[in-house]
Symmetry: C2
Subunit: 365 residues, 2 copies
């Protein structure tokens, strides 16, 4: 497939950066800024500039944020909206978010809050942001007190997922996106799981395979979000693997695991817990674990994580009162929303981590 | 009328602060914070605490912002969302905005952005904020580059306009609110204009008159906003008098005129311009000017304002490209949306200011 399209106007494929849809959306004489990072601009700046040149829009107005989570600071947000004001953007202007998920989240919140909301065009440059954060309209930045504590729901007016940009993506970052694709497969698509398994976690994927996988994951996410933009019901499904995943990331200050790896462990845990609670048969659980494993090797867990992760589960921002919702799986494509007391869930998570550590074969003395 | 009610759940009248609706909305065990200022808490803190005590919610969690426009800084916003995070507010929590328009705008934006939006209850303490900013869902803060440059549309879940709080309101602040009431009358209600004229700009209003005026103004604003929350069409009517009004405020760094006075001059100008362009008959214009004049004496204009105001019109943030929309009046309750080139509009405004200054009778030598 050359370019997929969902109700969210997501164009996927090689070279979609130069798709005429971009200049059609920007319109003539529209004013805007590009938000990116130095690293992304070094890698892909030329491709963006060429695409924009065709639209008559030049990237002289550029805000560079740091890479990774550091992009999502209140200071970076102030700098971005300040630059927008200095560039005299008005309600007809737009923001182009050009980078990974953090750049997209930060630029998206700047666009959502400037003049109470102007257009944002998401051009994700990583597999993870193509299948995950660029679609769905969640934007946000971090506070000292926790991640994503402030933000807005703000749908992009266009998403361009140009697979050419993935050619230079380090394999560890590619793998991080694969876990989110597996998540979508576990929620809604058997064929997507098969594609991931057949291509060994997309490591052996053809260009066509890659586009199919991205398009299918985006379609699944978009459909869920469409029915529940503000996460009052179904959207919570997308949190599959994320409660433990976030806790692992917090416990390691985001320095050890990629987001995908952490979610991969979270999905392993959700499957094991589903089996333990009698929700999934052992055979169904094995089948799901095999799909997750297809994404490849992960940074291993360590014993030091157990207590810190348990603590991080307890203080997760998503708690509502003392309960939390966790997504379990009766089988592939059979997700179930399950309520746990936060304390009980933290205990389950701790036990699981310990059992998982014990499963690691000891070296012979 | 004891308590008016619009689709926005606005309760109006003496003592509505203690209305059972408040505890019904908060629910049991809900967590929240109060955002206010030292001055407001000195004047009305006890009344709020008593009302909240009945709900079982105590105001120990209190964020104090400076009074006036200084409440609307990025620093104040960071401090507010930081306090919300420290108080471990979650998606079921709420913010109580207790103060004038600036406190309401700042607290509203904090509520809109914290966890992508939690509930806000607006308890306005000035006539202006009761009839204007507490209803309609516009929230925002200022940047160094301009006012209200960042913000969100976020409807309050409850507005309590307790007229008892107005007893201690200085007359200049009361008058500021009267101009916004006159604006609503000029847009939609002949009886409201008559009420303002009969009570000499509410200076001689009974308690019942005051409630009727607030309820009618709120009803008019709520109906317009309901049909056009995001200001793509009809909501622009509410800008009657505000293009020149904002320019006068900017030209004087918000230090000379109250918001109402500035809007009063803006409405005078809109009426005069409507007459000059042949849209309103001289008789209709006289009638409208008399309604505006009923609000009382205003801080006079000065010659030094002319060029600065013209400049401020040109750089108003609401410009879209080189055009602006101005609300003219063919007569009372006959508003018309008119497009001007920004340059032409600025010239009209400058000429009008000069003519207005010339009308001031010279002292005899």
């Amino acid at each position: 497939m050359a370019a997929g399209r969902t109700p969210y106007d997501v164009l996927i494929g090689p070279g979609v950066l130069s798709h005429p849809q971009l200049s059609r959306r920007l319109g003539r004489g529209a004013n805007g800024i590009v938000v990116s990072s130095s690293r992304v601009m070094r890698r892909h700046g030329r491709a963006l500039q060429e695409a924009l040149r065709k639209t008559g829009f030049e990237t002289r107005r550029l805000v560079l944020l740091p890479d990774g989570e550091k992009a999502k600071s209140t200071r970076g947000w102030e700098r971005t909206v300040g630059a927008m004001a200095k560039a005299r953007l008005d309600r007809s202007s737009f923001v182009i978010a050009f980078g990974g998920g953090s750049i997209g989240d930060a630029a998206g919140f700047a666009a959502a809050s400037y003049m109470r909301g102007i257009r944002v065009i998401q051009i994700p440059t990583t597999l993870l942001s193509m299948v995950d954060s660029s679609v769905g309209g969640k934007t946000g930045i971090n506070l000292a007190e926790g991640k994503n504590l402030v933000g807005a729901f703000h749908q992009p007016s266009l998403v361009l997922a140009d697979t050419t940009l993935l050619r230079t993506l380090p394999s560890r970052e590619r793998q991080s996106g694969v876990y989110e694709i597996v998540k979508c497969g576990l929620l809604r698509s058997e064929s997507l799981l098969r594609l991931v398994e057949r291509t060994r976690g997309l490591r052996r994927a053809s260009g066509g395979d890659l586009e199919t996988a991205i398009a299918e994951a985006v379609r699944i996410k978009a459909r869920i979000v469409e029915r529940d933009e503000r996460e009052s019901g179904e959207r919570v499904l997308l949190n599959l693997g994320h409660t433990l995943g976030h806790a692992l990331e917090t416990a390691t200050s985001y320095r050890v695991f990629t987001h995908g790896e952490a979610v991969g462990y979270g999905m392993d845990f959700a499957v094991d817990l589903s089996r333990r609670l009698g929700l999934a048969t052992p055979a169904a659980a094995r089948r799901m674990l095999a799909s997750i494993r297809a994404a490849g090797r992960r940074t291993p867990l360590s014993a030091a994580l157990v207590s810190r992760t348990r603590e991080a589960v307890r203080s997760d921002k998503k708690r509502e009162g003392v309960e939390l919702k966790e997504i379990l799986l009766a089988g592939a494509q059979r997700p179930r929303i399950h309520r746990f007391k936060t304390r009980d869930f933290a205990a389950h998570a701790g036990e699981w981590l310990i059992s998982r550590l014990e499963r690691v074969p000891k070296r012979r003395g």
